[in-house]
Symmetry: C2
Subunit: 237 residues, 2 copies
Amino acid sequence: MIRVVLFDTFGTIVDWRSSIAHESEELALSKGLTNFDGDAFARAWRAGYAPGMARVTAGKAPFVSIDFIHRNRLDEILPGFGLAMLDETERAHLNLAWHRLDPWPDSVSGLTRIRSKFMISPLSNGSLMLLATMAKRAGLPWDFIFSSDMHRAFKRNPAVYQNAIRLLHLEPEQIMMAAAHNDDLEAARNEGMQTAYINRPTEYGVDQRADFAATSKWNIIANSVEDLADQLACPAI
Amino acid sequence: MIRVVLFDTFGTIVDWRSSIAHESEELALSKGLTNFDGDAFARAWRAGYAPGMARVTAGKAPFVSIDFIHRNRLDEILPGFGLAMLDETERAHLNLAWHRLDPWPDSVSGLTRIRSKFMISPLSNGSLMLLATMAKRAGLPWDFIFSSDMHRAFKRNPAVYQNAIRLLHLEPEQIMMAAAHNDDLEAARNEGMQTAYINRPTEYGVDQRADFAATSKWNIIANSVEDLADQLACPAI
């Protein structure tokens, strides 16, 4: 009965925190910084993500690609981390670190299994080139890609889920939303989709304030993408 | 300098005529028809495609998925081919023959090579599920999928090419449109894209009236997707 499984990406499929920490630490080291805290840098950068999208969702800013929101926040935090010396080319390259995030260890194998039985796609706030570059680099085997640019809205705006349903020409209950964030699933369920919670309690590290566990009776509650593949009865590869 | 190569699909990547002929002939045989002409059926079905889209582009009909245009034309032609007895389930299944088209022999190998160097996607009048199902079945290795549903317009409406450029956040000259149809390339060039003509002079069989050869100085003129891969200096796989 389920035809398509849609996945949140940041936090659910890829581990943005360790990926950004790693890339920023290498850059800081190349600039001679010895006390740079990559984990803190990643969390500080990410802390501008939700507020940047919230301004769009509230109608206080026009829709912009998530790449612009990332860049604005990057420019804000660089001085506090001793990286004010980065020039335009270096900033532009660092901003694309969000296109080069590494998957959690279970993501590629789990997605490959789920893809053998269902259509799979991200339903993410990422931009198209971000999601396509990430997928190509990491080997995420999406059948197609939904990006926020296509919806011109960010989750949890109901328009995102509604537009995905419309584009698929399916009944909402033929679509499952999988995410590590309870509020993402709440928004999907409100539109009639099925839901799968994938627990990622270390996503935000010391900044984690929510999503240590499922907070509702989602259709599936899983500990990894592999576990979701098991519960969806997808064959082993 | 080129980052993304976009491909027309019907006729350029997949051979709709022989695919539809084959599937309709099998169905006709199962219904006891012995004089059924599958090639004529495929061409008659396809003859409703451009007029159906033209009504949308002219503003005489609201945007609808290409699946609906296919279905309307199917219902029109079934009686003339002795298939008026098909029930709703059979018609719905036959309509999805457009989701099951076979690629030309050079398509998968050529696309795989081009994908090793560039991002690749269809820029097609197909619907999302049509293009995703076709790709999964045939092994077309798209990085992502642009469907007409995303643009709510059909080629050669300039809005389609403009929307693709906008979603990619690239300069138009960083994008190449590849197609077997000169007018598709003309529309892409009008928006600043680079162009590649892939010659498919047998696409329409006895109904072919145009596109026997390139009619303009496109950036690349190729005889197959493999030839395009060669001219784009993509490594052998």
